[in-house]
């Protein structure tokens, strides 16, 4: 891409994609901002005119707001911790030569192909149901009272379901990173007198730094807007109402588009705050 001609040709050919992506982002963003300053109740009179920052104030002072932010952060943080730690563990295991390696790798990646709604329903009905779920049978086998997962331990249950879905993604990225580790480096560390756990801490883990960063950043983007898993399991009850679920309730259940839009703008702000801290903490791994 050195010459003037090839540069302008490249710009011309990229233009359709850029315009499309920009429009895809700008139109909903503008509409959200537009509605957030209006009193708009579709079934109760429709557009009732401009209200300034009233929606923002109402959303912020609602008793459900701060708990929903907290719930969102707990789910994101919990899923990230579980998937990264277990992902590293699984990646190291899968990197060992073993019989049936290809098949095992496909099986490990499989949960990622299951739709979120489906996997949440499977977990809810086949594993976590207190009457006929697999976990209930396991508890009964030891004479214990089955746990009512989704009401007694609702937040951990959701974190478990979502972690199960995202673990394959983390494992896959970390496995490819581990495979690119020069084996001579590990041998050199072995000669230098580092036992296995120190080789992991000083050689393998720093090597994985960049891949872990990628996993954290990408998963955060998707986990902040998690919805389907909550919708089909607890329906936002038992302290599992995330910010995106709260917005959904405001717009569709309360039929208040203006209030929901203001919530949407808060969600954008929250995502940016999270992104700012993430990039400051782990972003330096992406340099060089």
């Amino acid at each position: 891409m050195a010459t003037q001609q090839s540069r302008s040709a490249a710009r011309l050919m990229m233009a359709p994609a850029v315009v499309l992506l920009l429009g895809w982002m700008l139109v909903p963003l503008t509409m959200t901002l537009y509605f957030s300053f209006k009193k708009y109740l579709p079934l109760r009179g429709g557009d009732l005119g401009w209200v300034g920052f009233e929606n923002y104030a109402r959303f912020l002072t609602s008793s459900a707001f701060w708990p929903s932010v907290q719930t969102t952060l707990v789910i994101v943080g919990g899923v990230l911790a579980i998937t990264v730690v277990l992902g590293i563990f699984l990646a190291i295991l899968l990197n060992q030569p073993m019989w049936g390696q290809g098949m095992v790798r496909i099986l490990v990646i499989a949960p990622f192909f299951v739709m979120p709604t489906v996997s949440a329903l499977v977990w809810k009905n086949m594993f976590m149901d207190p009457n006929y779920g697999l976990l209930a049978h396991l508890w009964k086998l030891f004479g214990a009272t089955p746990v009512e997962w989704l009401s007694q331990a609702s937040l951990p249950s959701i974190i478990m379901i979502v972690s199960w879905q995202w673990l394959p993604f983390a494992t896959l990225i970390l496995l490819t990173a581990i495979q690119s580790l020069d084996s001579e480096q590990l041998e050199a560390a072995e000669m230098d007198g580092a036992p296995a756990h120190k080789r992991f801490a000083y050689i393998t883990l720093p090597h994985l730094g960049r891949a872990i960063t990628v996993v954290i950043l990408i998963q955060t983007i998707f986990l902040l807007s998690i919805f389907a898993e909550i919708f089909v399991t607890t329906g936002g009850a038992f302290g599992t109402k995330t910010l995106s679920y709260l917005i959904f309730q405001r717009v569709l259940e309360s039929q208040n588009v203006g209030l929901g839009s203001a919530g949407g703008v808060y969600a954008i702000i929250l995502a940016n705050i999270v992104a700012y801290f993430l990039v400051r903490i782990v972003g330096k791994n992406l340099d060089a």
């Binding site: 020069d182 001579e184 480096q185 041998e187 050199a188 560390a189 072995e190 000669m191 230098d192 007198g193 580092a194 036992p195 120190k198 000083y202 050689i203 720093p206 090597h207 730094g209 060089a288």
Partner: protein, 335 residues
Amino acid sequence: MGRITLDKVSKSFGDVEVIPPLDLTIEDGEFTVFVGPSGCGKSTLLRLIAGLEDITSGQIRIDSEDATNVPPAKRGLAMVFQSYALYPHMSVRKNIAFPMKMAGIDQAEQDKRIDAAAKALNLTDYLDRRPGQLSGGQRQRVAIGRAIVREPAAFLFDEPLSNLDAALRVGMRLEISELHERLKTTMIYVTHDQVEAMTMADKIVVLQAGVIEQVGSPLELYERPCNKFVAGFIGSPKMNFIEGKEAANLGATTIGIRPEHISISTTEGQWKGTVGVAEHLGSDTFLYIHADVSPNETMTVRVDGEFSARHGDTVYLTPRAERIHKFGADGLRIE
């Protein structure tokens, strides 16, 4: 101290025996070079000594103590890898400090050894850089520095110069030789380059297909190669081999004569030939000659200084009789 003894050591990968049982003793303070064509098992042999591979049978002794089942870290050996294997996320200082940190040496002693190594290897200005910011030669020196600070019983080098360009290789070769003179520590050095072997070694071990062909000082191997393989492998340019009637006259199947032991004349001599290619290097002239005595292979002749000859010229060659090597039908040397 670093006397290493291999006693009937063998190595198999599955059913494939890469090293049949062999015996070898490396004396304390000796610079030993394992040399051979690629795939001859020389790197495997080094890794067996290092402990990075398990031996299939036999015994390895370091300073007369059985080290066969001792893990690599406890053998007191330091290794320099072909890829240098520096830790990319650590500074040069931390790379060099790593083995000492693992051994739990206190900080003051660490700093002292790092400074000494950095001074010896000209790395003082680079201690805070990452390996990625260094040139190939500097990385090589960091790898050596990391080996030195451990004060090992022996150094193991696995083709350490093969990733460097030709000019740098000559320089590093001298530096490693000088290091050996200074430290007087046992060094085992693996290479496929016979020039490195000849210039650096106290003792050369020539390997082929996992078998030791000959062990000796560079000049012993040059002057009295025990078989055709060693004769062809050691020395540059390669030895000329002549078969047939000429060899039979001397009571051998094959005779060998080095390019530098043939005199050339445009008027008279023992063997007649025509010049194929003449390489004029200034200090030497290499002539590749189609000689009547060796119809299948061109013969190489090295002449000191300049010798004007061109393609197609007729020349006469005379070997120095006392420098002719005789080999029997089995390839072994005949006295």
